[in-house]
């Protein structure tokens, strides 16, 4: 049980931080500009906001891939230690 949870810890942290911060931005927008929650969230995911936004999205995706890779590395290390 504990081992299973340990396995994907970096990816889990990544998704937690990513979604948490996005949610936070949406909530702050909602609070300040008196918009509905749906409005704020849809603003976050409007892809055509800025034709160059692709750069940052690509970087964030690279971060996700990196986190999966480092999870794999951790698991491998652990296995070699166990055996």
């Amino acid at each position: 049980m504990l081992k299973n949870r340990m396995i994907r810890v970096v990816t889990f942290t990544f998704t937690m931080i990513f979604s948490g911060l996005l949610l936070m931005i949406a909530l702050i927008d909602m609070f300040i500009w008196q918009q509905s929650f749906y409005q704020c969230v849809s603003k976050l995911f409007a892809l055509d906001e800025g034709a160059n936004e692709g750069y940052v999205i690509a970087t964030a995706a690279a971060g996700f891939i990196y986190s999966i890779a480092s999870d794999y590395r951790i698991r491998k290390k652990k296995r070699s230690q166990q055996s």
Binding site: D48, E49, G50, A51
Partner: protein
């Protein structure tokens, strides 16, 4: 053995020298501009402008004309250009041509395809020169107008187009292959830039004209020439050219937009936005039997000047200005498209190509008579401007003035 080696060496000395068709550098003349006019006796009158290399020597520049021109008549371009040496001492090299001026009469009456073929076929011409339609004056005049900063006239035109595209966008960035592609394409009609001479062309030809602060003649860009197949049918203004470019690929531009829709008519107040990043997307489809042209534009912009009393540190003002800009730009572009539909009835925007990509089956049926379909189509332009920032000041100092002072 020795004999054989000797023979080999002799043979090598003959073969390895290479450069069969070598030309010495001082035997060539580099052509920078070509101008095509209708001929008096024969079909065309070709004028070439080639640089005078002595002018560009660093040590002791000669005081002469920076370029020299030569004019001949003939029935085809290759013929004339081969014959040019009746008057030119050196062999002409065309691979560095910067501008091709076409007299509007040639473009209107004969069409341009007759000589474009030879340009496309020739190994010397590259795909990097501008095709320019000359208005009013004969095309040969354009190859001769001096410019004090850029000494080669055709180079001046090309650089000016390049700079204009970066700062405002008034050139359709059409090159030879684009032009030819557009002639044969069913869903798009070709366009080209037009140039005019501002001033007296006779005076502008003198090398002495470079001494004057205010150039007596200047080549100016003047919007778009619209073609139907390969024949010129009309012109669009410079503003329309920018709007045309907006539908294609706009690098950057600056627009002034009135602050209020129905403000003071005598003394309207404006704010300027500079577009820094632009994305446009074309959609063509049929609603029943009615063709629909949809254009979605998304641009990022920042505010460059502000004449009215608006506090740019608040988000509401940004949203308001965004809406004003959306509306203004939407109207501008719609107007240009409608003008092209009504006045010319040819699809210079490439909506037909979009239809071909998006609805291939329908396109197959209608592309044969696409220009008629285009002129009766409904236009729907959606513009979304995102204002990002406002330079190094947020509020304008104008907004600090008491309100009454401004109104008076």
């Amino acid at each position: 053995m020795k004999k054989r080696l000797l023979f080999l060496l002799c043979a090598a000395s003959v073969i390895l020298t290479g450069c069969w068709d070598s030309i010495e550098l001082n035997d060539i003349a580099i052509v920078t501009g070509m101008a095509i006019d209708p001929g008096k006796e024969k079909k065309y009158r070709l004028t070439v402008g080639y640089v005078n290399p002595a002018q560009y020597s660093k040590q002791n520049p000669a005081h002469g004309a920076p370029v020299s021109i030569m004019t001949l008549e003939g029935n085809s371009l290759p013929e004339i250009s081969a014959k040019m040496n009746v008057g030119v001492s050196r062999r002409l090299i065309f691979s560095h041509t910067r501008a091709l001026y076409i007299n509007e009469k040639v473009a209107k009456e004969d069409g341009v395809s007759h000589f474009l073929d030879s340009l496309e076929r020739s190994p010397q011409f590259r795909n990097d020169f501008n095709i320019l339609i000359t208005k009013n004056n004969s095309a040969s005049d354009f190859a001769m107008i001096n410019d004090p900063v850029e000494r080669v006239p055709s180079l001046k035109v090309q650089k000016s187009i390049k700079s204009l595209l970066k700062s405002w966008g008034g050139d359709p960035r059409v090159r030879l292959t684009d032009f030819i592609d557009a002639i044969i394409a069913e869903g798009r009609s070709p366009v080209a830039s037009t140039v005019v001479i501002d001033g007296d062309p006779e005076k502008g030809q003198n090398a002495e004209s470079n001494m004057e602060v205010k150039a007596p003649a200047r080549i100016m860009l003047d919007g778009l020439a619209v073609f139907k197949k390969d024949k010129l049918i009309g012109y669009l203004s410079l503003d329309d050219t920018r709007n045309y470019l907006w539908t294609q690929k706009l690098e950057s531009t600056m627009i002034s937009i009135p602050c209020e829709e129905d403000g003071d008519k005598n003394n309207p107040l404006y704010f300027d936005i500079v577009i820094t990043n632009n994305k446009s997307e074309m959609k063509t489809y049929y609603k029943g039997n009615q063709p629909q042209l949809e254009l979605n534009i998304f641009s990022e912009a920042s505010i460059n000047s502000m004449q009215c009393q608006k506090d740019l540190s608040s988000k509401e003002i940004y949203t308001e200005l965004e809406k004003r800009s959306d509306k203004q730009i939407k109207n501008m572009i719609t107007e240009t498209i409608k003008k092209v539909q009504n006045d010319f009835g040819v699809d210079i925007f490439g909506f037909g190509e979009a239809l071909n990509r998006q609805h291939y089956k329908k396109a197959k049926k209608v592309l044969g008579h696409w220009n008629e379909e285009f002129s009766r189509a409904d236009v729907d332009v959606n513009v979304k401007i995102a204002l990002r920032r406002s330079g190094t000041r947020n509020k304008s100092f104008i907004s600090e003035l008491p309100k009454k002072d401004v109104e008076d």
